[in-house]
């Protein structure tokens, strides 16, 4: 079985991504400037989210030479008040591709340890300047690095490293890159603006190349509950992933060196004098349950070899042949291969079986996946036509594929756990919409968690009408995992769902002033491209989007008819006020009277009652 590490060494990932940078959103100076901003801002927000810190993010973009025409070099700096990174990890995090801390299964903006490095890479390629990272993770020392990337080797080259005393944690990253602000400016400003809508608990400031400052202070003081890291769902898994999990679950035969021997002695609590084969085995038997796995494996081997450490040091284990119950080793002293039989009934035999052949299928399922109990595991084994005790390490390639297929097809697994998701929450979303658009009507909904292909997701959606919203709606604000999506609108599933809606049915006609805010949260957003701009139309996601939009549209529709009634009542009051006095004037002369009839009181009562009706309808609208 070839390991993952080996694969990476064949082609440098940096090289790979260099030649595929278009996919990651670095296709031209305009797009690249925008994408670089996104990657750094999103990293800052991710870092703060993870530690529950209310984010303060400062973004600056300054031209190196303001008089040059675009495209030209810019210095892009993003500073945050997050947890920072330990000095030792900084070069790796910013100088290698696929290094990241967000691989665990939970919702985050970044995903593959890719974004920051791609931006740095792009900067380096276009301006030949190193990235500067200043970070403090202890609020005492700030480490400042200047790093270049070695693209061939996927390795950071530290150009400069200094330290400084500080009083706050946080990280500042700064790169020099070729960009076109005159073209990208609009999108970047939109991005910052829209980000602050979906991240109401963050303060974001943007200082642009023309020295304009855009400041979006936080208007929500609580951070939404952070997501928890969870184990994968069987539906969201493929052959490659299973292979990796098996490797992780298997335990290599430990090398028996001095350090290991010393560890075993300490774990068993034996003195150096009393460290004989029999005393080791006696003690181990008593303490077996408390011993770490490594120790148990070594002792199991000893039990069959019947050797103490002195002897053990002179051999090398060659093969543990479980089916034939033979343990073979190379004896350095005799320079020949020897073997002993293993007693299948012994405890030690079982221990070795686990190590060498991996866990039984049912254990593998219950231990490494979310929400699978022993009963389901057995039922699944039957469904997949595997023995429940089948050892994972003994699966052939074909069996692996069969297992993977069966995991996809088995329908009795529980729905994916959604505790790994971090939706914003209906309340902050509504607050944001109100603050941004000052609308006459707003409604928000958070759908219950659902899943596609084993990945849980939650749809949050808001709809707002009138107020500061410009006409010609619906204007759609798309978000995924708290990232605004601004490019490639045409092919997005959210827009598809919005465009399919017959607004006339909801009493929304003409060029209505209304917006829709859609937020998809998932451990894996099915982006159409690595540029993370549009979401593919997965049936389950589309369905949830539709349900959310229908729910909100109905609310808007009842607002519209109430508003219609309120408007009618107001209009009636106005009509009475205008025409009744005229009628009074005409009929006075017509009937030959001198004095106008006493209609004022009647008119006032009627107008007051119509206005009250209008008020009531309006209040009802507000309360909804």
């Amino acid at each position: 079985m070839s390991s993952i590490k080996e694969k990476f060494n064949q082609i440098s990932p940096s090289e790979f991504f260099y030649s595929n940078r278009d996919l990651a959103g670095f296709s031209n100076p305009t797009r690249s400037l925008y994408t670089a901003v996104r990657e750094f801002v999103e990293n800052a927000l991710d870092a703060c989210d993870q530690k529950g810190i209310l984010p303060d993010v400062y973004l600056t973009i300054k031209a190196v030479d303001p008089d040059k025409p675009d495209p030209k070099p810019y210095i892009l700096t993003v500073k945050d008040n997050g947890p920072g990174i330990d000095a030792e990890h900084i070069p790796l995090a910013f100088g290698t591709v696929l290094y990241g801390s967000k691989f665990g299964l939970k919702q985050a903006r970044g995903m593959f340890g890719l974004g920051a490095t791609m931006a740095i890479l792009y900067g380096q390629i276009t301006t030949n300047k190193p990235v500067t990272v200043k970070s403090s993770s202890d609020a005492k020392i700030q480490n400042q690095f200047e790093i270049l990337l070695d693209i061939q080797k996927n390795k950071p080259v530290i150009v400069k490293h200094t330290t400084k005393e500080v009083s706050k944690t946080g990280l500042t990253v700064s790169i020099c890159l070729e960009g076109d602000y005159s073209k990208a400016g609009n999108k970047i400003r939109d991005y910052v603006y829209e980000t602050s809508l979906i991240t109401p608990y963050a303060s974001i400031t943007f200082d642009d190349p023309k020295d304009q400052k855009f400041s979006h202070p936080r208007f929500v003081k609580e951070i939404p509950p952070p997501p928890t890291i969870i184990r994968p769902h069987p539906h969201g898994i493929d052959v490659e992933r299973i292979r990796r999990m098996i490797v992780e679950s298997q335990f290599e035969i430990p090398t028996i060196d001095d350090a290991m021997i010393e560890k075993i002695r300490k774990d068993l609590g034996l003195s150096v004098k009393n460290f004989s084969f029999t005393s080791i085995m006696d003690k181990a038997k008593k303490k077996w349950k408390t011993l770490p796995r490594q120790v148990r494996v070594v002792i199991s081997l000893m039990s069959f070899l019947k050797m103490d450490f002195e002897k053990l040091n002179k051999i090398r284990i060659e093969d543990i042949d479980m089916p034939n119950k033979k343990l073979s080793y190379w004896d350095f002293g005799d320079s020949q291969s020897k073997s002993v039989d293993m007693d299948p009934e012994s405890e030690y035999y079982k221990q070795l079986t686990n190590t060498v052949q991996g866990e039984p299928l049912t254990t593998f399922l219950t231990k490494r996946f979310q929400r699978i109990g022993p009963t389901t595991a057995v039922k699944f084994a039957e469904f997949a036509k595997f023995k429940p005790e089948k050892r994972m390490g003994t699966l052939t390639n074909q069996e692996l594929v069969n297992l993977s297929d069966a995991l996809q097809k088995f329908e009795d697994f529980m729905a994916p756990d959604s505790s790994c998701l971090a939706p914003l929450g209906a309340e902050p979303l509504e607050k944001g919409i109100k603050k941004f658009f000052n609308p006459d009507f707003v409604a928000v909904v958070q759908r219950p968690a659902s899943a596609y292909s084993g990945f849980p997701f939650i749809i949050e959606m808001g709809i707002a009408y009138g107020g500061d919203i410009k006409s010609g709606g619906p204007h759609v604000y798309r978000y995924a995992n708290r990232i605004p999506l601004l490019y490639d609108e045409g092919s997005d599933v959210v827009l598809k769902v919005v465009n399919d809606t017959d607004w006339g049915r909801y009493k929304i006609k003409g060029e209505p002033p209304f917006i829709i805010v859609s937020h998809i949260c998932s451990t894996r957003i099915p982006y159409k491209t690595a540029g993370k701009e549009n979401v593919a139309d997965r049936q389950e996601i589309e369905r949830e989007l539709r349900l959310a939009l229908q729910f909100l549209s109905r609310k808007l529709s009842s607002f519209m008819s109430k508003r219609g009634q309120a408007e009618m009542a107001k209009k009636r009051a106005n009509l009475y006020a205008k025409y009744i006095p005229m009628i009074a004037e005409f009929c006075t002369e017509l009937s030959g009277k001198k004095k106008e009839p006493n209609y004022k009181k009647m008119l006032e009562t009627e107008i007051a009652s119509e206005n009250k009706k209008a008020k009531e309808e309006e209040n009802q609208i507000e309360n909804n």
Binding site: Y576, I580, M582, C587, E589, L590, G592, E606
Partner: protein, 374 residues
């Protein structure tokens, strides 16, 4: 016969009293309606009134009256109903304005009304809207607009030995003989409201076309046939129909109609005789005894008149009229059927083929003779 000065004065007095009475009556009608609205408001109620429905389903033919009338359906107009409030106010204004016109004996045209409204901040979208409100006033009061001194723009004319006496302000008591001016007198507000004093004529000839009217004056048809000649100018305006009725009722003159030999001509005569569905809400606009003497479809053959083919719309009009209850018998039905059979028509001028005076020398005397037996 000589009349004494005293007698003359008494006559004038009684005539102007008649005009005064009519004015009083109209003002009284308006006042009654106004007072009802006033009382409603005074009592803290939203004023309302009912108005006969003029929808097609409520227009029925009355065999006895021999005209179209409105049925019993009526609609309530309430000032509380915001959809009706505007037209309610418009109608109130119109009544108010008609009251002023009648009091001051001033006349106005339909177009005047449209513009006058603007001085009182009563908006009409366009003239057709104000025209409609005028019909509403007619329907509510069962009085033609002319009674409120509101006249259409179109004019027709009259010629013949008829003495009239004006009642309009500034001309009260003045008399006029309508044979003094050979172009004829236009039938406007002053003539419509004038007293008809005396005449030597024995018949009224209503003719469809201005050209023939002039010919008839030139040929002295008024003297030769002791007649008053009226040019209806196509479909006769209401004031002309009122005058025709008065000539018939007050001066006891028979009325005959002479039109083009086509379906439209036939219907011009019919409207003089029994009104139009459009004016079903009004009485006193019809001359049930009026007679259509030609040009008939059967005349086309009989007088060998040059013809022109009927158009599509002529033919369609024939079929429409076949459904009208008034075209179910007599010459009305007979001639309509022949028009449809011939699918050709002849104008009054067609007689010129046989000489310009052929129509007055030959055709007219025969028709007058025939009229006696109709």
């Amino acid at each position: 016969m000589k009349t004494t000065k005293k007698e003359q004065e008494n006559k004038i007095k009684s005539r102007s009293k008649k005009a005064d009475d009519k004015q009083k009556l109209i003002l009284e009608i308006l006042k009654t309606h106004g007072a009802k609205i006033y009382d409603d408001l005074e009592n803290g109620k939203f004023p309302k009134f009912s108005i006969p429905s003029r929808s097609v389903s409520n227009i029925v033919y009355d065999k006895q009256l021999r005209q179209y009338i409105l049925g019993n359906n009526s609609a309530l107009r309430s000032s509380r109903n915001s959809a009706q409030l505007r037209s309610f106010t418009q109608l109130m204004w119109l009544a108010f304005f008609a009251n002023r016109l009648t009091t001051e004996r001033k006349s106005s045209t339909l177009r005047d009304i449209y513009y006058s409204s603007q001085a009182f901040a009563v908006e009409f979208e366009d003239q057709s809207e104000s025209d409609n409100i005028i019909v509403d006033l007619e329907a509510v009061t069962s009085r033609p607009r002319e009674d409120f001194h509101i006249f259409p723009e179109e004019r027709s004319s009259i010629f013949g030995d008829l003495n009239i006496e004006y009642t309009i302000p500034g001309y009260e008591g003045k008399t006029m003989n309508l044979a003094n001016h050979p172009d004829g007198y236009s039938i406007g507000p002053s003539l419509t409201t004038a007293e008809l004093v005396s005449t030597s004529a024995e018949i009224v000839i209503a003719i469809e076309k201005g050209g023939l009217f002039t010919r008839f004056v030139e040929e002295q048809v008024d003297k030769k046939f002791k007649s008053i000649i009226i040019n209806t100018g196509g479909q006769a305006p209401r004031s002309t129909r009122t005058l025709l009725k008065r000539l018939h009722d007050e001066m006891k003159l028979p009325v005959i109609c002479l039109t083009d030999g086509d379906v439209y001509g036939e219907h011009i005569a019919m409207v003089i005789k029994s009104g139009s569905a459009n004016a079903a809400h009004l009485r006193d606009l019809t001359v049930p005894d009026a007679k259509w003497v030609g040009v008939w479809a059967t005349d086309i053959e009989k007088y060998k008149l040059p013809t022109i083919p009927m158009t599509e719309s002529d033919i369609k009009r024939c079929y429409d009229l076949q459904k009208d209850p008034r075209y179910q018998d007599g010459i009305w039905k007979k001639e309509l059927d022949v028009f449809l059979k011939l699918k050709r028509k002849a104008e009054l001028e067609a007689f010129s083929k046989y000489g310009l005076t052929n129509i007055t020398d030959k055709y007219l005397p025969q028709k007058l003779e025939l009229a006696k037996s109709l």
